[in-house]
Subunit: 344 residues, 2 copies
């Protein structure tokens, strides 16, 4: 039976071990391992060989302390389970890949206090940059961010005042835009279906923008329904059923995300409801999943990949010369009408 991984007779290796094994000073070993400074080819070979054969793994903790440099970038996001943030992460990783920087992810579950503690934890490792979702933070969090003395990029949202830089879209505008499209298509009895999350500020802003645009033409939401937890697809079905039962004359359902929208779509198709004739549907995010549904749900992509990329570029300092910090990048999501809004 395999024992715990070798209660190693020898303590874990240090530069000194490699230096002794190769007959040079620790400093020279350090230089070889970091490819820094001039080292003769012969010495380099000898050192590398020694390091390899010993199985030496440098101690970044000591290195970071000594050099005051850490190649870590903190990334703080609310959730991993809804398909939207993984794509942001992909964008971030892509860009960071060839910069020597490494993302470290923290998840807050949409809880401000949790964000605060994750942030504290991260800052205590002195990362060289920080990317976090949203513009709303506790006072303490904001104070830490300001103190940190490193580049900070707040992502996803730009309706507000960033601490440093921001990359995102205007959710208010996105909501407004969708409302306008819906109105233009002739729908009038509109309901909203979303998550019951007081801290999902972006969803809230979309709804605000949406209602603003409705108000502008004298409309108000006919109904609204919220959920929390569980399978979003299933919840989408259930909520849709509930809403349509309560108000059979509703002609449009605006969902706060694609997943529940997809559930609603499947429900309507099941029930033989004419989409988009009798009822129109729209979601938000532009998730890949929609490609495989029987009908294309109207949505608006949230530029997730691009947001991740640009945020990482700011952190990595890959910006056009002259730009120093405090950047505000607004991306513009495009409306994808799909097949669930009447064509006018």
């Amino acid at each position: 039976m395999p024992r715990p991984p070798a209660p190693d007779p020898r303590r874990t290796l240090t530069l000194r071990d490699v230096s002794e094994a190769s007959g040079v000073s620790e400093m020279t070993v350090s230089r070889v391992l970091r490819n820094r400074g001039d080292v003769s080819g012969a010495t380099r070979e000898r050192v590398l060989e020694a390091a390899r054969s010993l199985g030496y793994v440098p101690n970044k903790i000591a290195g970071a302390l000594a050099s005051q440099r850490v190649n870590l970038v903190g990334v703080i996001i609310p959730s991993l389970s809804n398909m939207v943030f993984p794509e942001v992460l992909t964008g971030i990783s892509e860009v960071l890949e060839d910069t020597g920087l490494q993302p470290v992810v923290g998840v807050t579950n949409y809880l401000p206090e949790r964000e605060e503690s994750v942030l504290y934890e991260m800052l205590s490792w002195r990362p060289s940059g920080l990317i976090l979702a949203g513009l709303e933070h506790t006072d303490a969090s904001r104070a830490m961010l300001l103190q940190a003395g490193i580049p900070i990029v707040e992502i996803m949202d730009i309706d507000g005042t960033p601490v440093d830089s921001a990359v995102g879209i205007s959710h208010r505008r996105a909501g407004r835009q969708m409302a306008e499209a819906i109105i233009a298509a002739g729908y009038r009895k509109i309901a909203f279906l979303g998550t019951q999350m007081p801290n999902d500020h972006r969803a809230k802003k979309r709804l605000q923008g949406f209602e603003e645009a409705l108000a502008k033409v004298g409309l108000t939401l006919v109904d609204r329904e919220f959920y929390s937890g569980g399978s979003a697809l299933l919840k989408g079905r259930e909520m849709t059923e509930a809403v349509l039962k309560r108000n059979p004359d509703i002609d449009f359902l605006y969902y706060s995300n694609d997943m529940i929208g997809a559930g609603g779509l499947l429900y309507c198709l099941d029930k033989g409801i004419d989409v988009p004739g009798k009822v129109g549907l729209a979601g938000f995010n532009g998730v890949e999943l929609l490609d495989g549904l029987p009908r294309r749900l109207a949505t608006m992509d949230a530029c997730r990949l691009d947001i991740g990329r640009q945020a990482a570029e700011i952190i990595a300092g890959k910006r056009p010369a002259g730009v120093v910090g405090g950047e505000m990048v607004e991306l513009t999501p495009t409306l994808q009408p799909g097949d669930t809004i009447r064509r006018v």
Copy 2:
């Protein structure tokens, strides 16, 4: 325009700053901040107040170096985009939450070399434990793991020899079991649809087990189809169409994951194919999404949450006394027949 976060006049704070501000030694401050050792209530208050008002954030790098203790647990997984690993992470976080340990995630994209470099990077931060997916690693990776001198838990799979501990299911057995259920239900012309990923060893093992069980009753796969990249749901549709066109007499489709299985299901329903009468379907994973589909896809849950929990427990040392390491935990997935396999 907001400038980069205050090119702080004062360098970043250290224990000394707090110690001066509160009139005690650095050591005492350190004790207060870590709740270690006896400190009088009055002193404690004074120190905390000073730390708070300065906005001091401890430097874990220095702390870790001095104490030779790091509260980080490395987690190395192949992907974040397929719904399966986020749930594992949830299980891990849940358990780690109240241990002072913190997960740090690395993603390999199913590339062994990438795993090797992520592993190297992680070990160089000297985490107190490591959780990684799968039992297959490069020689160099395996060597590093053995040298590391920390608890290692390989998760998801148990068909092989772990370096230290392992928590997972037998994918071979899962495949076999599904095949047996399918055969028992009377299906005979069976096809397999999966991902084109040479490094997804678990999918491969499921297929092996599946074919073994078929062979035992003299059957072989009628057809197989692979995909890579893109929207899994859509790919599921396309592959299903391709397979059914090639072999109209096929009566069962076994998918290597639920997402493509769901795509296949939607396709069949679209085409009015009698499921499970004419064609039966099954996937793998037991993802939440299935709850919202028009019909419940047969699947087998992969015990993801539980795998995460138990792996974290091993790392956190929360195991029944007497257990030292080198644990092997086999979980048993349950077959969920849903509505896409004929009832016998």
